[in-house]
Symmetry: C2
Subunit: 438 residues, 2 copies
């Protein structure tokens, strides 16, 4: 099975655990059997591999997520990187071209496209296989998943099938309705549209070539910023006559808000925290090193990270976005392909950061125009290169780097260091990358 997982969104509705560079799908919130926690993207990837060990998984996403994806899923997973945001049709077209031209998959094969963040069980991935098999048959150009509604939701679009069969032709699509209208749809046998569908690669390649003049994936990638923003629904789904839907009646949850996310949490507390006995329906998700104590609360979610602290009534938590939009957006924590960093102190003319490099990884070789830096290695070992000079380093070693000097650090074991940045104009964009000459 070929799968494209659409991984988008800045996920402000799960602030302070998500931010501009860490979307909700990367928050480690689901308890595993060994007691550790995995993220939505890790959970979905593990589930796919369990149902189909040979599945080709490609994640369609933006540049900002590439580091976090490699950090959480390793280097095996395919990534189709959108050079900029151009809505779902260009993103899906690019991922399709990536499968054909980079992964060299036969255009006659089908692919299943679905969001990266549904909270589902293995049966869902079995259903995805069903979509793929149906698309292979060629009875229709597009095969959608129709989710059996459990309540008359206003949050989803609806698909009305021609019959109540497991696989049926689509009669029509309906926009997100009011509750009353949703009830009518459901009475007519309507299904939720979860944005999951399968098609043969050649099908979307043909449509893309009709709409855009390009030779192959690389050419499309280069021209990406000139493409018109269009949704896949508008460009493809609504115009297609040969379209089927397959029913899915298993568990399917969209964990987009704290309210729904906490419902999927096995433990009431993740991280350091305690609820006293007068609390009811309270969840704590704490990524800080210090404890959270909750007393006498009801239906409240508390979430703390280096970015901030949210304390919200669960219902109210879905209205968080405008508040987060107004907050200063200094990134205090990020997962990178080589490890992670965390801002631990900010002053007018300095910034102190804790850097963790994973074993065998290194930063880019880079320099800064307007700041000096000092590294104090606090654990592990590795080597630094500063203006071409290599040096073995271990806990206790101090490296000073003036503005302009090129530097990197390579971790032989997991390596942690405190980085002090000094200068009048400290700025994440002040970074020049270089190739390392060996």
């Amino acid at each position: 099975m070929n799968i494209v997982l659409l991984s988008g969104g800045s996920g402000k509705r799960l602030w302070p655990l998500s931010n501009d560079i860490r979307s909700k799908q990367f928050i480690k919130i689901f308890k595993q059997e060994d007691g550790s926690y995995e993220s939505m993207v890790q959970r979905v990837y593990r589930q796919i591999k369990k149902v189909d060990a040979d599945a080709t998984v490609t994640i369609a996403t933006s540049k900002t997520q590439v580091s976090a994806i490699h950090n959480q899923l390793g280097d095996e997973v395919g990534i189709s990187v959108e050079p900029c945001r151009r809505d779902t049709f260009p993103a899906i077209a690019l991922a399709t071209a990536y499968l054909v031209d980079v992964m060299h998959i036969d255009p006659e094969e089908s692919v299943v496209v679905c969001p990266v963040d549904p909270y589902v069980e293995d049966e869902y991935f079995e259903a995805l296989k069903g979509l793929s098999v149906q698309a292979d048959k060629g009875e229709a150009n597009l095969v959608l998943m129709g989710i059996e509604p459990t309540y008359p939701s206003e949050k989803y679009g609806y698909i009305i099938p021609e019959t109540a069969d497991q696989t049926a032709r689509v009669k029509t699509f309906k926009e997100k309705p009011t509750v009353d209208v949703a009830k009518e749809y459901i009475a007519q046998g309507a299904l939720w549209n979860g944005g999951v569908f399968a098609y043969k690669l050649k099908y979307v390649m043909e449509i893309a070539r009709r709409l855009v003049d390009f030779t192959d994936y690389y050419d499309l990638f280069r021209k990406y910023d000139t493409l018109t923003k269009t949704s896949f629904d508008y460009a493809v789904v609504e115009k297609e006559e040969k379209i089927q839907v397959q029913r899915f009646a298993g568990q399917w949850k969209d964990l987009g808000t704290w309210n729904t996310l906490t419902e999927a949490m096995e433990d009431a507390v993740i991280g350091k925290g305690e609820l006293n006995s007068t609390c009811s329906s309270v969840h704590i998700i704490n990524e800080m090193d210090v404890p959270v104590l909750a007393m006498g609360l009801h239906d409240v979610v508390i979430s703390a990270s280096p970015e901030g602290i949210l304390v919200s009534d669960k219902e109210q938590s879905s209205y968080i976005k405008p508040f987060v939009d107004r907050l200063e957006q200094q990134i205090m924590f990020a997962e990178k392909s080589w490890g992670s960093f965390r801002v631990i102190d900010v002053e007018t003319e300095s910034m102190t950061i804790k850097v963790t490099l994973n074993t065998g990884h290194s930063m880019n070789y880079h320099s800064h125009k307007n700041r000096d830096e000092v590294w104090v290695v606090i654990s592990g070992q590795g080597k630094t290169i500063v203006d071409g000079m290599e040096q073995k380093v271990r806990a206790g070693d101090v490296i000073t780097m003036s503005a302009g000097c090129r530097h990197t650090v390579m971790a032989e074991t997991e390596l942690k260091l405190i980085e002090v940045q000094l200068g009048e104009d400290i700025n994440v964009h002040d970074k020049q990358k270089y190739e390392l000459e060996y």
Copy 2:
């Protein structure tokens, strides 16, 4: 007027803003006219000086609070330091001997003793003057303040006066009663005992000499750990026949819990924080650099500091102590006489601290047996002395100190530095102090 302010308690009930070394009286929570915040001890000290600019103020406290007192009140204030905890009679006797033998105040003069943390207005300090004047007259050996009850509280002891006059002889004392008993007391004209009283210095000196064999303050200080733990109430008040009470009907609040403390806050939010419009009666006291967002809460206090995060129903907040007792007690923040420090990162074999030195101040000259240290100066200027070697330092300078090496830093301007401690056994008690030879 001579005043002794009793400054005690570890104040766990205001966790996470108070801890083993920062008691509640040092939390900056009261808004001043210029928009900055002052602590209880700063507020009380300012109020005393306003009512009586020449007042001799002495704070009776333990060693752990000396740094914070100098940091908040400067070097002018007198401090009588208890070498160890021995309850209120030894503490008051020591402070009395301090006034006589160190401050050289005439033993015929009177002194007013009161807690450091009442939330009161200027009229209260006028009333203290009244107590002092009454004690000077010598009609009684002890003159207590009796606070007009505003409700039948179970939290206070009661004083029953012989008459309803402004100044009256005390008929009897009553322990903390139940509400119903409190009502009866109040019907009899009882007053709250706020632990405020005045006496002539010689009076307590004589009692102390009767109970303890000592020559002067210095001798008493040396013998302090051999003294029996006794309360002033038991050793003095309950045995005294010549005892009066003066009525006080002004504002008097005991801000011992988050519930009562938030009532005295002028703004709903101190520090970075925001309440959405569906919050009611919510207070945020945030000492962290990152924002707190509260949504849809009612009657809740949220308090965040480098020690932890409390989210509590206001009523419930008075039951916090057992939870805090169980928490690990790593001190993450402290005010010292020379400035302050804050722990910003903790690892198994390293600890990173941000140190702020006030202009003109320096640390003790000291060394550590089991850890190396690195300083990175991030702002200001001054000089370091490392094993006798002086060096001018400014932002960007790095000083490395091996275990055993003696070091200090002196701030010529306000000076901030990041200190990285490295070693297998990092411990606050691993510190040897030395005299600096010039």
